[in-house]
Amino acid sequence: MMSDPGMIVLLTVLLPVIGAGLVLLLRKNENAREAATLLTGALTFAHVLALLRLVRAGESPGLDILEVVPNVWLSFEVEPLGMVFALVAGFLWPVTSLYAIGYMRGHHEENQTRFFFFFAIAIAGAMGVAFSANLFTLFVFYEFLTFCTVPLVTHHQSDEAKKSGRIYLGILLTTSVGLQLVAIIWTWVLAGTLDFQAGGILAGTASAGILSAILVLYVYGVGKAALMPFHRWLPAAMVAPTPVSALLHAVAVVKAGVFTVLKISVYVFGVDLLQTLTTTTWLAWAAAVTIILGSLVAFRKDNLKARLAYSTISQLSYIVLGAMLANELGIIGGGMHIAMHAFGKITLFFAAGAIMVAAHEKKISRMHGLGRTMPITFGAFFVGSLSIIGLPPAGGAWSKWFLGMGTLEASQFGLLAVLMLSSLLGLYYLLEVPVKAFFFERPKDAHQQDGVHEAPTPSLIAMCITATATVGLFVWPDLFHELMQMVVSGGVR
Amino acid sequence: MISFALFNYWAVIVLMMVGFYALISRDNLVKKLIGLNIFQTSVIMMYVSFGKISGGTAPILIESGGHGGDGHGVQVAGDAAHAMRDNAEILYSNPIPHVLMLTAIVVGVATLALGLSLVVRIKEAYGTIEEDEITRMDNAA
């Protein structure tokens, strides 16, 4: 396996596909099938680690695959930002698979083979996005990710699933084809290349007005970043089984979105160019609005998954904000938040799913007192919440720190206030859940359960892993910080 | 005088319009076909008129030594007439339009035949060949 670096990159993308094939082949034997998923996940992560070593040494392993249209290539190149994303996705896939095994069996879900199949394919898509060397490859895998997650979102095939599928596909494709593709082709026409380069490729190719317009097209065109008003797909996708919500909407799909925004900011526009464009600040404020509105709506939701969905929308805009601050600290903060938020949010979703399976509750108002029968779950929820709010000892504190510093450096005190306000709101709407679970009484008509009645074991283990990682990232944020530092000092080519 | 010399073309236009109008306005399918045919015939007339060279005779080669004009159209008709090297200077009308129109006539006949056979089948299937009734029957279906 320690072959040339290009092969490692290719394998990282292909292994999940092979895993998907194995899942299909082994569909008759459930245990063998799950083993295939976990094994492939572990192998993929091993490859990601191998790539990490190369990147930290300053290399950029890559591979040109094929020329699709003359002068437009499908090719991979690993750089630090992509590494961040790949690490997150690569680690969390096997963990989520572990969780999913417990959940799907505990919840007696149908069509599990189809689920695990498309799960694996989606990860391949995410890896493809992480490793793209140019805008075209990014677009290809971005769209691929959209399509292969549709069967996951519409898993239940109910009427509600159908409607959600429409919203999901509708919004994501409208933004990608309507805005992003136009921006990409425009870039192609102006710059003559679509390759990602340190310092960007658009500098000096057109007037500031045109470049500002293209920036707007890009940022809104990345529908997966859920910048309002293109955010509706996220709560709509909550109709999916919780493992789907967990991985895809806390990790793969949404992270692909904000990753794209960051990547375009740094490698297509370049931080210097961004600072000269008028729309950069507007977009930063658009992100700020999304942060606040997302938090406010989350406040009002009684359905736990819905609340988490809006919290995600809000958190994603942190990263967009970081990108639009267009300074080193902002970029570092945004990139680190990709990792911090992923671990924190996935813990929250794991907990939400566990509550649904073990206690059959979806509404927060009915979760009072549940902490006594599900201490581990709610404990994990507590830890995850800390990360999202941005408090020590959770990793989220670091990313928030850097983002805050970024706003100060840009002298955007208003944006700093926004960050503070959202933390405050998060404090309430997130901590409400574990606090009331531990310290309040059960509702009168609730089913009383004696003793501990936790989630299925695999799910529990997964949850503990991510919660621990969340704390661990607080203690050792170095890896992600180092990678992001490489990004801003121009580690590509 | 001038309008008389262009009489052909006026006739062409009149026929063309008559045919086209019949095609569009009549509901009866056979009448439409008749209109189409009149329309096509007018075009035939147009081509033949193009081929006519003032003073030219029918473009059938006369064997007594004359080279037939190989037909370069109206504009160079004069040159054709003078370009002949033989003594017997016979001016022919341009045969090419005639040839083209033979082909067009065949095409027209084929179209007409196909059209009429379709009308017969439509009559069998619908019981009528009036377009408004057919449309009504289709919409009701």
Binding site: L66, V68, V69, V177, L181, I185 | F39, Q40, T111, Y126
Partner: protein, 481 residues
Amino acid sequence: MLAPIAALINRSGPAWVIATSGAWFAFGAAVQLLRRVMTEGMIVYSLGGWVAPIGIEYRIDQLAAFVTLIVSAIAAVGVLYARTSVASEIEEDRHALFYAAFLLNVCGLLGIAITGDVFNVFVFLEISSLSAYSMIALGQDRRALTSAFQYLIMGSVGATFIVIGIGLLFVMTGTLGMADLAERIPAIWASGDGDRTIAVAFTFLTVGVTLKLALFPLHLWLPNAYTYAPSAVTGYMAATSTKVSIYLLLRFFFSVFGVEFSFEQMRLDAILMPLALVAILAMSSVAIYQSNVKRLLAFSSVAQIGYMILGISFGSVIGVAAGIIHLFNHALMKGALFMAMGCVMYRIGSVRIEDMKGLGKSMPWTMAAFVGGGLSMIGVPMTVGFVSKWYLLQAAIKGGNWLAAVVVVVGSLMALVYIWKVIEVAYFKRRENDDPIEEAPLSLLIPTWTLVAASFWFGIDAGTTSDVAMSAAESLLGMMQ
């Protein structure tokens, strides 16, 4: 030549064999032609040894070879498909006649593509049209007859307009050869004597050709014709006849009249572009509301023709190349989609959306083929549809045509809506009754999937098609006097 033999034998099996051999021979020849033209340049062949302008010449350049390839390829795949499809949709005693008509149609279309003489074009055009009318009339529903009749009337009017145009050109220039016309027209135009006639000829030709290629608003014959014709016929025709008419348009406007004349003097772009834009928007919207999937795809085809014309109306090399690429790509996409519908028709006898509930489960390969073609229509990367959009959007942005870029994008999104409509019913609804429905037979699936696979292949490796299209566009636009 093979056609009358097929008709005379009058038995289904042998007739099909004859048709297949004809189609595949043509395909092989077309591939060779394209190769030679790409390396050597234009091929010229004088029929019977009579050199132009007296004789009729066959002139084959990159565009002609490309179109020949498309027609023969679709014919080759289509005839394989036809065997089973026709057997179920047309009465046995008519099969031989069907194959005879099919061969005539292929002959006509190929003839249009390779000839260098304008009247010859008319002859081949009518050969292909008449055989098309007959093929359409063989459909099961009685509305096939009226559709064929309507197409006959409109098509003949179009052809006659073309003849009028040709005649007017002939009377002014004295020649029927395309190369000659290209030389003589500018002189006449410049001299100012007879320029009105040239303009009128141009107009008649434009109207005639756009009627044949079903550009909005002269598209009225297409939806009915495609909906009620036998499935194999629709699959074949949707991918070929309008494409050849577009070829004809390119030939006339670029090779005969020349870019300068067409675009600057006659302002072709001002006529074609608005019509194309309206076609895309209006026809895609109408498609969304259809309940008969074949009709839906027919309206979608008119919209796609709008895309091709849009590319051409830009008048730039990349615009024309985009139109040509879409010609090829659409042939693959739509051919595949209509063939998938033919499979559905074969098994359940209907193509109404409500009847297709749950087909995602019962006919997985068929519906997967539909999804494949559908992804191409939407323009997902790695499909041919994306390549077309790529070039079209480039051409629009480079030319500063923002409205066109927006319309292209909106059109793709509308395609998403109508494709998703079908997918939703097939995959999300359950069948009510329990009649078991089998997957379509291999003889239908294999040709369908051939086209689907091609639509992915040429989407993943678009090098060949884009090279051919760009070189064709360059030589078309370079033919200025």
